[in-house]
């Protein structure tokens, strides 16, 4: 994980408490700890670095301003509370774009440099290139999905949240989460099958 480790003398709880008392520095430590995850979520939903950065910034500002509202309500944690804020920010932006479409090639092209982060450096250059390519195709496929399905898919399969957590974060019933997730996966599967020729050989779906 590319997470900056929290200093031992200040665990998450005490940082949150300090932030709730108005300590911006304490909050910023939380920012450092979570910004990669938050950005990653935003990026996977929005599809381009600029939008992802905007959403991330907005989410952290909103989180600080509403930090008093976090009382451990969510069973999971501060993390799910934070992810909820950023996914809502992304959702609002996607809705806004739908109402006022911006014809920009950003919507269709992916910045290659945005896909650099590797979990492991043990991959050779070929493998790395293949993963890059695969990621690019995947991201394009994700962006064919409508906002609700997209967010549900990313929260589940990228961030690893459970159905229940996603239901709470997106304010919908469990059944809705299940059906959105299923449809998103199904559509993405269909898309990848359609793109069969473009996929590197080992990724081709049977």
């Amino acid at each position: 994980m590319m997470q900056v480790a929290l200093r031992e003398d200040r665990d998450e709880e005490s940082l949150i408490a300090a932030a709730q008392r108005g300590n911006l520095d304490a909050f910023n430590e939380l920012v450092l700890a979570y910004q990669d995850q938050v950005y990653n979520l935003a990026y996977r939903i929005m599809g381009d670095p600029a939008s992802a950065s905007d959403a991330t910034q907005e989410a952290f500002i909103s989180a600080y301003e509403h930090i008093d509202g976090f009382r451990g309500k969510y069973p999971s944690s501060f993390k799910s509370w934070l992810m909820r804020i950023v996914s809502n920010a992304c959702y609002d932006e996607l809705r806004r774009r739908k109402r006022h479409p911006v014809t920009s090639i950003e919507d269709f092209e992916l910045d290659e440099e945005a896909n650099p982060a590797l979990v492991s450096d043990t991959e050779g250059p070929e493998a790395h290139a293949e993963r890059q390519e695969m990621a690019r195709v995947m991201q394009t496929g994700i962006q064919t999905l409508p906002a609700d399905q997209r967010i549900t898919l990313v929260l589940s399969d990228v961030q690893g949240f459970s159905y229940q957590e996603i239901a709470e974060m997106t304010d919908v019933p469990l059944g809705t989460v299940k059906s959105r997730l299923a449809r998103a996966r199904g559509k993405l599967r269909d898309y990848l099958q359609d793109q069969g020729e473009l996929l590197p050989v080992q990724y081709r779906l049977a």
Partner: protein
């Protein structure tokens, strides 16, 4: 490679939901076993499952993208933080709005009942009949009504007296076809006059069944002996000490001692202006003749003493109802937010 587009989309969606839940271990035991049995014999379904599974795996294996920069916040970026205002009030006060609505309904109902009793039962409020002149009667409620709903508690109490008064006052004066005399008398100490009957009839008939504040108007008007109808009406309204009509001096004296009618003199001057305006259109409409008879029938002095608690009740209920209405509206507005 199997293409599964041939089947109906809704069927495929249903299958996808089943397979997706299966992949996440979200199927019940019975459902899971049935699906696995089906998978064992349904090749295309197995292919679908495999394809779905690979999609999910690819999603899970997507590389994590690192933040391109630091997103730490500076002081200038964040507004002054207000301690948890928004979420709490809503949670805390969900009971307030319905409760207030119920209270408002109860109080309003009581008020209407009391008011109806006042109007319909001759022994209590004294306004059993209200033939003419209806126009004046309507004017009073309108003016008083305009005054009533616009204030909060304190203001309502203060205004109810004066606002109720100018209305009946000009009307009373308009009815009494002696506008000038009436004006002068209003400014001066009230006296017993032959105008009493005139004002009385007016007083009786004006409020009719439209009694805005319920309480003060009828008794105020009835108490308004002819001479200084203004002050007496004010006195009657403000401190509903139901004075007999025949003792206007006493009335005004008593009135002046109570707090609210302290504004009576000031009010008395207002109606002067108003009633002048009202005088033009109205004078010809009053039937002055049956006055004496009506007065006698009404049995002047007796009922008024019994009016006091009733009138107090009316005023109290009326004010409470109005206050509750506003508070309820506020509560619902806050709630919706």
């Amino acid at each position: 490679m199997l293409r599964l587009r041939g089947r109906k989309k809704s069927e495929q969606e249903r299958r996808d939901e089943l397979l997706s839940a299966y992949l996440d271990g979200e199927l019940g035991e019975g459902e899971r076993q049935r699906l696995e049995a089906r998978l064992a014999r349904d090749v295309p379904l197995r292919a679908e499952l495999r394809a779905l599974q690979q999609t999910v795996s690819l999603m899970r294996e997507l590389p994590e993208v690192a933040a391109p920069r630091n997103f730490i916040l500076s002081e200038s970026m964040v507004e002054q933080r207000q301690p948890a205002l928004k979420p709490e009030p809503r949670a805390r006060r969900t009971w307030a709005a319905p409760l207030l609505t119920a209270a408002t309904a109860v109080v309003s109902l009581l008020f209407v009942v009391v008011l109806a009793g006042d109007l319909l039962l001759p022994g209590i409020g004294g306004l059993a009949s209200a033939p003419e002149p209806m126009e004046q009667a309507q004017e009073i409620p309108e003016i008083a009504l305009q005054a009533a709903p616009t204030a909060d508690d304190a203001e309502i109490e203060r205004e109810s007296a004066p606002s109720g008064t100018p209305a009946p006052m000009p009307a009373a004066k308009a009815l009494g076809e002696e506008p000038d005399t009436a004006v002068e008398e209003a400014a001066e100490a009230p006296r017993e006059e032959p105008e009493i009957p005139v004002a009385e009839e007016a007083a009786e008939e004006i409020p009719a069944d439209e009694d805005p504040l319920g309480t003060g108007t009828p008794s105020a008007l009835t108490a308004a002996g002819g001479g200084g109808p203004t002050e007496e009406a004010v006195a009657g309204l403000a401190a509903p000490t139901a004075e007999p009509m025949l003792a206007p001096t006493v009335v005004s004296g008593a009135a002046l001692t109570s707090t609210i009618p302290a504004e009576a003199p000031a009010v008395a001057e207002e109606p002067a202006g108003e009633e002048l305006g009202l005088l033009e259109p109205t004078p010809g409409q009053i039937d002055v003749t049956p006055l004496a008879t009506q007065i006698e029938e009404r049995g002047v002095s007796g009922p008024r003493r019994r009016d006091l608690p009733w009138e107090l009740l009316e005023i109290g209920l009326g004010l409470t109802a109005v206050v509750l209405i506003f508070t309820t509206i506020q509560a619902w507005r806050v709630r919706r937010r």
